[in-house]
Subunit: 351 residues, 2 copies
């Protein structure tokens, strides 16, 4: 298998996630049905139903296929063969991870006062802040209930729940650091990387680790897969920071440059600051509603001149390479190849 070109890679990855997305979406409807009180569950499902690539579930299902060394998607994910011959529902684990992702987005949008998400109003806008808090809280416990339903042995179930709980704690810590960094001009790059590890990368880590735990893989395999998720998750966040500056608003589903307007620290602004760029005065307003495209264009030009956007791209590239190298613990098969392609795609994607 040779490396795909960027275009054919994007096509391959899109095909890979699309094939699984339908299954994942069906599973979400099954595992998180809209029951009474309906308004609560509708609000809980609203963002899940609004779209999303299902990248984390795709990573989880690919790790399962690769570890079991079966043809991708050849086995039913609801009755998946563990390494010891027992059967388990890896799809439930995939749904659980996606449900956690959705809960964090709902609460983050309240905290960051972001009105749009996936091109539709955020939950606190479509409903209200109270309902959005509660919808997030409901998804939180539902994710644990769903993860309890894989049919794995109690030993493995406990380990998977441990991953889920500590992942959620780290996401909260990461979000708290992200908010705190807005007030601090002196954030170190290491601190930033720690923040995005917690805020974003740990959920990719969990997506790659949980199936290994559930299937009964060796500890070394479990740990390397976790680190694969951490590496590509960090790269994913750095690419997000790049995209926030370089992709048109309608394609992003929110205002381009909103990180700059809201004084969010990113690896890009930290680099630029070190190069002597006065990052704080790049955009005058603090309100995404007031900023002009021309202002954003000028700010991006200055960051490009300082080499800060290229620096971020290189950093992401480095992390993706490291992540791919870790996949050596998996059998050499089609699913492992697809996990490598996804890693590359994460930093090549345009949105």
């Amino acid at each position: 298998m040779t490396d795909a070109s960027t275009e054919s890679r994007e096509e391959l990855v899109m095909q890979t996630v699309e094939q699984r997305r339908e299954l994942v979406n069906e599973a979400i409807e099954e595992d998180l049905p809209i029951v009474k009180p309906e308004r609560l569950y509708e609000a809980s499902r609203y963002l899940l139903d609004a779209g999303g690539k299902r990248l984390r579930p795709t990573v989880l299902l690919l790790v399962a296929d690769s570890l079991a060394d079966v043809e991708p998607m050849s086995e039913a994910y609801r009755k998946f063969p563990a390494l010891d011959g027992t059967e388990l529902d890896v799809m439930a684990a995939a749904v659980s991870i996606e449900v956690i992702q959705s809960f964090t987005l709902i609460h983050d949008d309240i905290m960051d006062d972001d009105d749009l998400r996936r091109g539709v109003p955020a939950v606190h806008q479509a409903y209200d802040v109270e309902t959005a808090i509660l919808a997030g809280d409901t998804l939180y416990s539902k994710a644990f209930e769903i993860m309890l339903d894989t049919g794995a042995s109690p030993e493995r179930c406990v380990r998977a729940l441990d991953v889920l709980a500590s992942t959620c704690t780290k996401i909260c810590e990461g979000q708290a650091l992200d908010v705190a960094f807005e007030e601090r001009p002196d954030v170190l790059p290491e601190e930033y990387l720690e923040m995005i590890e917690n805020k974003t990368a740990v959920l990719y880590g969990a997506a790659a680790k949980v199936p290994a735990v559930l299937l009964g893989a060796d500890d070394e395999v479990v740990e390397e897969l976790y680190q694969y998720g951490i590496d590509v998750g960090r790269a994913f966040q750095i690419q997000d920071d790049v995209l926030d500056l370089t992709v048109p608003s309608e394609q992003l589903g929110k205002q381009r440059g909103s990180d700059l307007v809201e004084n969010k620290q990113t690896i890009i602004t930290l680099h630029a600051r070190k190069q002597g760029v006065d990052v704080d005065s790049l955009v005058e307003t603090d309100d995404v509603g007031d900023v002009t495209e021309a202002e954003i264009d000028a700010a991006v030009a200055r960051l490009e001149d300082a080499g800060s956007i290229d620096y971020a791209r290189e950093k992401a590239q480095e992390l993706v390479q490291r992540g791919k190298d870790r996949l050596g613990v998996l059998p050499d098969n089609e699913s492992r190849y697809l996990l490598e392609e996804i890693a590359d795609y994460l930093i090549e994607r345009g949105h």
Copy 2:
């Protein structure tokens, strides 16, 4: 052992919770230390440190003592003898339940726009809404992490986590119903009782059930203890509704009559409505800051005339009796007696 009088009962129960409170508070500091990012963990601990009787942990520890049939507090709760001779940390389970309670209070205060709690500013007032959301989210996952640390067998651990997760889901459903009921004048008493079962009673149910699961009690015992918690938890909520009308604001730690001002449905207003009282016009304002003591006094007098407050007291009495009867599944010992006394106390307490 004979029934205590109300005064000596209050003394006995206060002594019982006080003896355990110190141990529980120490355990909270151990299991939920203030680590980095400090501001997040300080906010998470703020309400836990502000007080609280620790009633739910006390119930949990008493059930453990009773089931193990040991002298109350004679065994170390961190190394507690399960029924099969293994050792486990029941204190971690007690902390986990209290941490869930604290998370729900923090988010509820944001949703209900309540500024005071336990006589101090609510977390979203002492910090800000963003931090309060995140502090609640952190406590949420921490509760699962702490419950994972009891040292119980994986089988029992999974069951305890299942109780915890489904309890949290029900609490969210109950809170959603509570909010929805504010807009509905036609709530049925059964609907109200279902709402408070979910919003309040399930956490008492979990406090009584989890130690039985962890110690390895029979299923029938586990179920009866759960129902004990549900019964007394419902009674507790009804008493809360009575106290909101009958106890001075400074003793309540918040404005007396705030439920009426905020149009909250309670068993009292539902009864009064059925008696023909125009509940919606009992208090003119919708803002707790605007209401006068005289208005509240007049409203309470009308509810008393309609027999609605007595009706609530009788309902609570009935539930407490049913709950106490369920304790027959426990060995006849001092801890069981104390669980009966706590049930009585819950509807006799003045705050």
